[in-house]
C-alpha cells in the first residue's frame, strides 16, 4: 500500500494571525451573546422533543415495543443538540446517557424499558427542577443513569 505524507497549505493558519481581529475573550463574549438570543426558541425545541419522546416511548405509549431503536436515538439527539441551555439542570448529560442506552439496546437488539423509563423520568425531573437541586443530588441522579446504562 502506498502512503503519501504531505502538508497541504492551511489558509486558516495564516488568516487567523492577520492584523486586527479580536481578543479570544471578546470573541467568546460575542458568541455567548449570539447564542443567548436563541435561548427561548431552543428551550421550546427541547420541550417539544421531550414531549414527542414521551408520547412515542413513554410508559403509556401503546406501540413503543414495535418502534425502531433508530427513532428514539434520533429524537434524543435533538434534545442533546439544544440542551446546552439546560446544562445547569443536567439535561444535557441525561440525554447523552439515554443515547448511550438506546445504542446499547440497538447493539443487543432488545429494548430495556425499565432503563428507558428511568431516563425519561429523570429527564422530566431535571428539566423541571434540576437547576434548583443541590449539586450532589443532581450528580447522584446522573451517576445513577450512567450505572443503569452499564448494567
Amino acid at each position: 500500500m502506498t502512503v503519501r505524507k504531505f502538508r497541504p497549505p492551511n489558509r486558516l493558519a495564516s488568516m487567523i494571525k492577520d492584523r486586527g481581529g479580536i481578543l479570544a475573550k471578546d470573541a467568546l463574549a460575542a458568541a455567548e451573546a449570539n447564542v443567548e438570543t436563541l435561548r427561548e426558541s431552543s428551550l421550546a425545541a427541547l420541550d417539544a422533543a421531550l414531549e414527542a419522546i414521551e408520547a412515542r416511548f413513554g410508559p403509556g405509549a401503546p406501540d413503543r415495543a414495535s418502534e425502531e431503536f433508530e427513532t428514539l436515538y434520533t429524537m434524543t439527539l435533538k434534545v442533546v443538540d439544544v440542551s446546552g441551555f439546560a446544562a445547569d439542570a443536567g439535561v444535557d448529560e441525561a440525554a447523552v446517557s439515554l443515547c448511550a442506552l438506546v445504542d446499547a439496546c440497538a447493539e443487543a437488539q432488545a429494548w430495556r424499558w425499565d432503563a428507558v423509563d428511568v431516563h425519561l423520568s429523570a429527564l422530566r425531573l431535571l428539566r423541571n427542577v434540576g437547576a434548583s437541586l443541590p449539586a450532589e443530588h443532581r450528580r447522584g441522579m446522573l451517576d445513577g443513569l450512567h450505572k443503569v446504562v452499564q448494567r
Partner: protein
Amino acid sequence: MPEPLNPSTRINLERATVLVLDDNGASLDILSGVVSGFGVRTLHRAESVRDAQALVKIHTFDLIISDVQMPEVDGYEFIQWLRREAPEQNRYVPVILVTGHTRISQVFKNRDAGSNFTVAKPITPKILLERIFWVAREERAFIECDTYIGPDRRFKHEGPPPGTDGRRKDDLQGEVGDAQEPNMSQEEINNLMKVAKVQI
C-alpha cells in the same frame, strides 16, 4: 495535545469562509451564532449533505464544521467524499465534526473519517473556539492512502509498538529501556540553565 486558548490571544477570522452543516435547524442556528460571534463574516449554512456538497463545489472554504448524525448521508461519509472527490481547493480543508453521541459501532468510522477534531454536543463557544484555534495551528501532516485521507491520527510520537519495526520512515527504532542513572538533582538542572560564557 495542543495548548488551551489564552483569553488574551488575538484572533482574526474576518476573511475566513466557513461552512456549517447540521440537519437540525435549532442546532444549526446555535452553531451559526457561535461562529458569527467569532468574527466570521462569510458563513454558509447547509441542512443536508447534498446542500453542503453543492456549496463545496462552488466556494472555497477555510473551515467546515459538520454534524455527524444526519439522515441518508451522515457526516462521516460527507468528510470521506470531501477528502477524495471534492474540488482540489477544498479537499484538505480543516474539518471539525460535532456530535451528540458516538455509537459504539461507529467509533472506528469516526477515527477514520478524516476530520481534524470531533467536538461533543451541546457545543460551547469556548470549546469550539479552542478547537478552531488548534486547527489553525495544526502541525500534523496529512496522510493519504487507499483506506484513509486526513490528518495524521497519531497525536503523540512514541514510536511503533514494542516488538514491531514500524511502518514509516520516521518511526523511531528500538525500545526505550529503564533509566541507567538516578534522576538529576534540582541543582544540577539549575546549573544547566545558567548563563555561561562559551568559547566559539
